[in-house]
Symmetry: C2
Subunit: 384 residues, 2 copies
């Protein structure tokens, strides 16, 4: 496989965007990325989206987006792996450019979630879990992650304060990101005072319902060898696990992320200690803590300590979710994996403004589907 | 890109399979394909499925199928391009093996359509069209293809008898396929006596609602160089067009198939006259006639003549849809593109039984999404 780089990025505002449509959001992010890349041609489009059928009554997103982007007859297809759909679109684009088949590929992600009521949105998102063996019995994602949080607190004496600290940190980071859905800080008291959704998870432990899109342009490295704004994709890894939580051996960890990371580290020839910053999948606060452990940023069971000591805050030893994460930036499901890559690219270019991590040269994205049934990890590096 | 071959195929019975589930069907086809391939490892799984969210309340099909296949943590992802989802899964698998990233890849397709009522199924399938600009105004797929049929009949004086002949031929072929949903012959009189769905299309001009799955195993050619049951994938092509029919310049043709075919012929170094048999996307009888023209099997406007002269019947100059096609074999949407490849592989191996095309050495599959907004064409050849 030949070496590959990201040369353009584009992100829309994330939020409740009542006046924007699914296609309109995707096209905005894509045009920004193509403009940033100064791309004059396009060979293939990969669209990450989880459940536009249930949210928007619309499938066939590859052709739809190629059409509205004015790019048809360029081939296009949608990739779906629940909340890891964006990461999968990126991984597939990297493999396709790596194969030599295409030279300029757009990998974008989108979700327009506010077209249905809150209850319907929870139902649509539930389609990432096992419909026959989890949803049928009343499970929802907050309740699945609540069980995982309880298991982690039981196994490792993880403090409630650790969950709270994740939400507070990510809102602090998000306050520096104008595209975030909630670009403001919150207090630990506010987290605990927010309604209990599923014990121990409060409303402010949960990522929100969001509209938004993100896109990147992937090209062979040899086309952008001397371009300092190009960012190299040096490794990626993917894995799966049982869809249903009750079939896992351990509820207090997410082995799918560890497996995907192992493959990515191996491909990149890197170790956890080489990573300067990361965007991880904090769909719920406990997921961020478990991700620290799965990615090797701290030993198993020590994720709570890492956040409480400030290790993952801007200025800490490994800042995590400088974008605000899914919690504060928002979580338009299919867009999330691509938006993570956009944040790391901006950081490695030194273009992250107030939230810039100084000297960042190697970054990681960790995008996860469902309660940990699929994961995609990418490792990005500055262009030497 | 290195050369690639299909070494295993598997297809389930197609039909109204009330006692079978989405996952169960996929696993059956996959195990058959893996067994046929004598595969001892698996590196990646691509699942083609159009709209399991709307049919089954289930997304995240990559991980679900990896899980139920007992293959997790092998990475897996779903590909969606409406009715061309299966073809896209195959194309993505071919590119991934071609890149050198994976050595043994499963590309499968599935749709379980009978879990909802007929009206709901038409609505779910409608998600392949433009939800905002077609469905909202009441369009359904039979009505869109009826307009295309009318345009073709007007532009080229295509006879009603030509449409009828497609249905009759495909049921004749399907009568020789034990896995077909409707493995029996029909008469021209029966086609005309069947209820009018959308003028000029009668019920027997339309492909049915079907449950089913199909799978193939893709490997590098150098691993199976001396294996006569391996079939080489010598070319593939993809393209997109406007999602909405009213935005096309011409309703009497499907340029997206012509563009995908052009790319596939170029990659394979082949011309239409080199093709010995083909599986094409006869979601409605008119679509098969337009496909003949788009694929270069006859001049533009002459598709009606080709079928009426028997050129595409078993024993004709280029047999089309020896499997029974979508019409008689059935059309479990996400499975269709893969099932087409399974038929061509069986034919090129000389294992097609009563429907064997003698001396078949080069075959083509043409899988289309929506009313012609996306298409994927593959060219397969016997292993020398």
């Amino acid at each position: 496989m030949r070496d590959v780089a990201i040369i353009g990025i584009g992100v829309t505002k994330f939020g409740e965007l009542w006046d924007r449509s699914l296609r309109n959001l995707f096209v905005e992010a894509s045009l920004k990325a193509l403009d940033d890349a100064k791309a004059s041609k396009l060979d293939m489009i990969y669209v990450g989206c989880m459940t536009s059928g249930l949210f928007n009554g619309q499938e066939h997103l590859g052709a739809l987006m190629a059409d509205y982007l004015g790019a048809a007859p360029v081939p296009a297809v949608r990739l779906e792996s629940a909340c890891a759909s964006g990461g999968q679109a990126l991984a597939t684009a990297v493999a396709a450019v790596g194969s030599g088949l295409y030279d300029v590929v757009l990998a974008g992600g989108v979700e327009k979630m506010t077209e249905v009521s809150g209850g319907k949105a929870t139902e649509a998102l539930g389609a990432a879990a096992d419909a026959d063996y989890e949803l049928f019995f009343g499970a929802t994602f907050p309740s699945l992650y609540a069980m995982m949080a309880t298991a982690h607190m039981h196994a490792y004496k993880t403090a409630r304060e650790a969950l709270t600290a994740v939400a507070v940190k990510n809102h602090f980071h998000g306050s520096k990101n104008p595209n975030a859905q909630y670009p403001f800080e919150i207090t630990p008291e506010a987290v605990l005072a927010s309604p209990l959704v599923s014990e121990p998870l409060h409303l402010l432990d949960c990522s929100p319902i969001t509209d938004g899109a993100a896109a990147v342009v992937v090209v062979p490295l040899d086309r952008v060898k001397k371009n300092k704004r190009a960012v190299r994709v040096v490794g990626f890894g993917q894995a799966t696990d049982t869809l249903a939580l009750h079939q896992r051996k351990d509820l207090a960890s997410i082995p799918v992320v560890a497996k995907a990371a192992e493959a990515a580290y191996k491909m990149a020839g890197r170790k956890p200690k080489d990573i300067h910053l990361a965007e991880v999948h904090d769909c719920f606060t406990i997921a961020e803590i478990m991700s620290y452990e799965a990615l090797g940023f701290c030993p198993k069971g020590k994720g709570g300590e890492l956040i409480l000591k400030g290790g993952t805050r801007l200025g800490g030893k490994i800042p995590v979710n400088t974008s605000g994460g899914l919690k504060a930036k928002g979580h338009p499901v299919g867009a999330t994996g691509i938006a993570q890559a956009c944040e790391i690219v901006a950081q490695l270019r030194g273009e992250a403004g107030e939230r810039q991590v100084k000297g960042a040269k190697v970054g990681l994205t960790s995008n996860m589907g469902g309660s940990g049934a699929s994961a995609v990890v990418h490792i990005l590096e500055v262009n030497k």
